[in-house]
């Protein structure tokens, strides 16, 4: 028993890294699975773009609840799949899953600000200075 642990310690010293080889192979397996999932979901994204969700009753009904109509349904669904893929890359490839709070903290700010940035267009629909916005429609 003591011999075995001595071997492990020796390996860790030798390689400057604590992880044993067995877990490395597990990592590789996980990366390949994530890669395969990304391939599959890319194919799904392409396939979904050929479906007119605004012609399917269930989707019309469901998205109507959140005020999304017409082609925007396709956009929302496409973005959901893309976000899922991005989460896969972030969590496993970029190791965010096991990252410390020192990494997470600045990222939370980024997330907050980038979301705010994406929502800026909402201001385009309000008219803070009455009469300053002219719509064609």
């Amino acid at each position: 028993m003591s011999d075995h642990s001595a071997t492990v310690d020796h390996k860790a010293d030798d390689h400057g890294h604590a992880a044993a080889h067995g877990s490395m192979f597990d990592h590789v397996k996980v990366y390949l699975i994530i890669g395969a999932l990304l391939f599959i979901f890319t194919a799904i994204t392409v396939a979904l773009s050929y479906i007119d969700f605004d012609k399917i009753g269930l989707f019309i009904w469901a998205f109507d609840k959140i005020g999304v109509h017409g082609f925007a349904i396709n956009i929302v669904i496409g973005m959901i799949v893309a976000t899922f893929k991005v989460c896969l890359v972030g969590a496993w490839f970029m190791h965010l899953k096991q990252e410390t709070k020192e990494i997470w903290r600045p990222l939370l700010f980024t997330f907050f600000f980038v979301t705010a940035l994406f929502l800026l267009f909402v201001f385009a629909y309000s008219d803070p200075i009455p009469g300053s916005v002219h719509w064609h429609h």
Partner: protein, 375 residues
């Protein structure tokens, strides 16, 4: 000077410096692309439905490029794992594949995708002849309320666009062209034609006069009967429209280069010309059936392509930067693969950091691909 904490974690942050540095850099990158995506959202929502094209980009090629980039994301992480396992041979193999994937991605972009868009023209079809192309038209984007008739000319049975073109009809004015979508206003050109022979009452002389003004009206044939018709008081608007239409569709392309058609591909992009487009195996788009000519869809004329070139261009620059980093770390030089023999953990961190950057590039493409190619 030695940069501290490249391998060991810094006591106060608990992280090696490069790791924290790259994450802060990635955060700024997210904001950079976030700004561009926000601009995209704004322009997309603000544009009229028929102004935002769908299907201009080649989906199979885009999908292939997405696969290439995802594959490179997997290989870069395998390169990093190989380094962790102290396997230099596998590290070099995986990193080289990553580098080649990056080059392949850029190659497809630069040799195929962008040039295809540089030579892309919009065509506007006359309403009366639309029926000729009807069998080949997939008008799924047609607005049915009669206000705007919008269709993409595409190969029958193909879900994707073949050439970019819009059939634009407004209910109150069947030939009104949206000035924002058409690079010139035909009416103004007609007025210029009329102004030339303004004081000449004899239609025959007037036609001759116009004919001799080669500089301004190069090769244009204005029929005397038309001139007479146009000089009638009061001028019949329907007649004027009809003549205008005929002049534009048949002779407009012969107007003065500089003033008549500032955006003519022949003037704007001399390398290109409009060739008859096969929209179906039996059908050829006749030049004379175009409502007001055609314009190259360069960024200055097209918001969509301006956004597309901006975002994919910046993304492409990132891919190039990644490739440069990878080949540097691959080559047997002091800062590259040779580092493996002196400080393998530092090389490992270098690959981790450049790998994180590469994953961000992949991550951005995951959004770029659907928004430009599919939606």
């Amino acid at each position: 000077m030695e940069i501290p904490y490249t391998v060991r974690p810094r006591p106060d942050t608990g992280l090696a410096n490069p790791k924290l540095g790259i994450w802060l850099f990635l955060a700024s990158e997210v904001m950079l692309f976030g700004g561009l995506f926000a601009g995209y959202i704004f322009m997309r929502l603000g544009s009229d439905p028929w102004m935002w094209p769908k299907g201009w980009l080649n989906v199979p090629v885009g999908t292939f490029n997405t696969f290439v980039l995802i594959a490179s994301s997997v290989t870069v992480i395998l390169a990093w794992e190989s380094l962790k396992m102290r396997n230099l041979k596998m590290y070099k193999i995986w990193l080289f594949i990553t580098f080649m994937c990056g080059l392949l991605f850029l190659g497809i972009k630069l040799s195929f995708e962008w040039p295809a868009k540089f030579g892309h023209f919009g065509a506007y079809i006359q309403k009366e002849v639309a029926h000729k192309y009807e069998p080949a038209l997939g008008n799924e984007d047609r607005v049915e309320d009669g206000k705007v008739f919008d269709g993409h000319l595409k190969r029958k049975g193909y879900p994707r666009l073949f050439i970019g073109g819009h059939l634009t009809e407004k209910k109150d004015d069947p030939y009104a062209l949206d000035a924002s979508s058409v690079p010139f206003v035909p009416e103004a050109n007609l007025d210029a034609v009329l102004a030339l022979g303004k004081d000449e009452k004899d239609p025959a002389k007037k036609a001759k006069l116009l004919h001799t003004r080669e500089v301004t009206l190069k090769g244009i044939v204005v029929r005397p009967a038309d001139i007479a018709e146009l000089n009638k008081e009061p001028l019949d608007p329907a007649k004027k429209k009809e003549i205008l239409q005929r002049m534009n569709t048949i002779h407009f392309h012969k107007l003065d280069e500089a003033n008549g058609r500032p955006y003519d591909p022949a003037n704007d992009r001399p390398k290109f010309e409009l060739r008859p487009q096969f929209v179906d195996s039996h059908l050829v788009l006749d030049k004379r059936d175009l409502i007001a000519g055609h314009g190259p869809l360069v960024p200055k004329l097209n918001t969509y392509l301006a956004t597309y070139f901006m975002i994919t261009g910046l993304h492409g620059a990132h891919v190039l930067a990644g490739c440069i980093c990878f080949i540097y770390f691959w080559l047997p030089i002091k800062g590259g693969a040779k580092l493996f023999h002196t400080n393998p953990e530092q090389l490992c961190n270098r690959i981790e950091v450049s790998g994180l950057f590469w994953h961000l590039v992949d991550l951005i493409w995951i959004f770029v691909f659907p928004i430009f190619y599919l939606l």
